[in-house]
């Protein structure tokens, strides 16, 4: 593992040790965040899958109804029947915070005169197939809106999970080992300095004693 370009001093080591503790704590927290995000994401994705399958099947049915309607009505009549709508569908946009990801919450607000009065045309010149088609489409509206909500949430959460995973990995495999290696390097360097100064002191002490007592001459 490569080490950081730092001075091998005691102060630097204390600083690095503090940073290592922070990094480890951050790593643990990010890991927890990732796990929780993942749990919620899987739940959401499963719901999304279910909704999509349902909506796609129902839309196919709807298209079939429209095809049937266009078979018995002229294109002009069909288009003009659908041209104006009685209801105005909109959504209120709220937001929900899932583990620091802001996901949208859509609540449908539709302004229709009456529940059974959704057809934007008179019944005299239109086929019942068209009624079926419009009813079917009206029925899947809540699912369509819910689908939009979950799919957008999944998209946002997938991006956040990827980011968090990268951070966790970078801390785990790069930052923390690098801190540890650098601290070990400084500790060894300090010990080495310690030993070298100790031997130097012993040597100097020997020399001073020699000067004072003249041991080597006395032994002769």
């Amino acid at each position: 593992m490569d080490i950081m370009n730092v001075n091998p001093t005691r102060m630097q080591m204390t600083k690095l040790k503090k940073q290592l503790v922070t990094a480890k704590r951050g790593h643990k927290m990010l890991k927890d965040k990732r796990d929780e995000l993942m749990r919620q994401f899987i739940e959401l994705v499963q719901e999304n899958k279910r909704l999509r399958e349902k909506v796609e099947a129902e839309l196919a049915e709807c298209s079939a109804h429209f095809v049937n309607a266009s078979a018995v009505m002229s294109k002009k009549a069909l288009d003009s029947s659908l041209m104006s709508s009685k209801q105005q569908t909109g959504v209120n946009v709220g937001s929900k915070n899932i583990m620091s990801v802001d996901v949208p919450v859509f609540t449908s607000v539709s302004q229709s005169p009456e529940k059974n009065d959704i057809y934007p045309y008179g019944f005299a010149f239109t086929s019942f197939e068209l009624d079926d088609a419009v009813t079917a489409l009206n029925d899947i509206m809540p699912d369509l809106i819910r689908l939009a909500e979950t799919e957008k949430s999944c998209e946002l959460m997938a991006a956040e999970i990827e980011r968090t995973r990268r951070r966790v990995n970078s801390l785990e495999h790069v930052m923390i080992p690098r801190y540890e290696a650098t601290i070990k390097y400084i500790a060894m360097k300090l010990e080495e300095n310690d030993r070298s100064s100790r031997t130097r002191l012993m040597k100097v002490k020997d020399m001073l004693l020699e000067k004072a007592h003249h041991y080597s001459q006395r032994n002769e």
Partner: protein
Amino acid sequence: MAKSIAVIGDSESIKGFGAVGMDMFVCDEPVSSPQLLKQITENDYYAIIYMTEEIFEASAKEREKFAEKAVPAIIPLPGVRGNTGIGQRRLSSFVEQAVGSDILFKN
């Protein structure tokens, strides 16, 4: 605050959506869809934009900048020409991005 819902697609696929109160934007040429999407998203009026699959594919580049934003949600729907499976592929790409491998659809 209430926002509206838009639908973009060929006239055959989306004609019903107008009847249930969504705003229709007919786009019979997928090539011109990025331009249309740009216009629609300009004043932030729509919260959800449904698209037929052809349009969804054709406007991939224009859609990119909304990937990180909460609104608008751009959602592909199958048109009258049938389902090409874009929705499912999109979902599995999210799973792959998050988990690392597709654990939901791989079986």
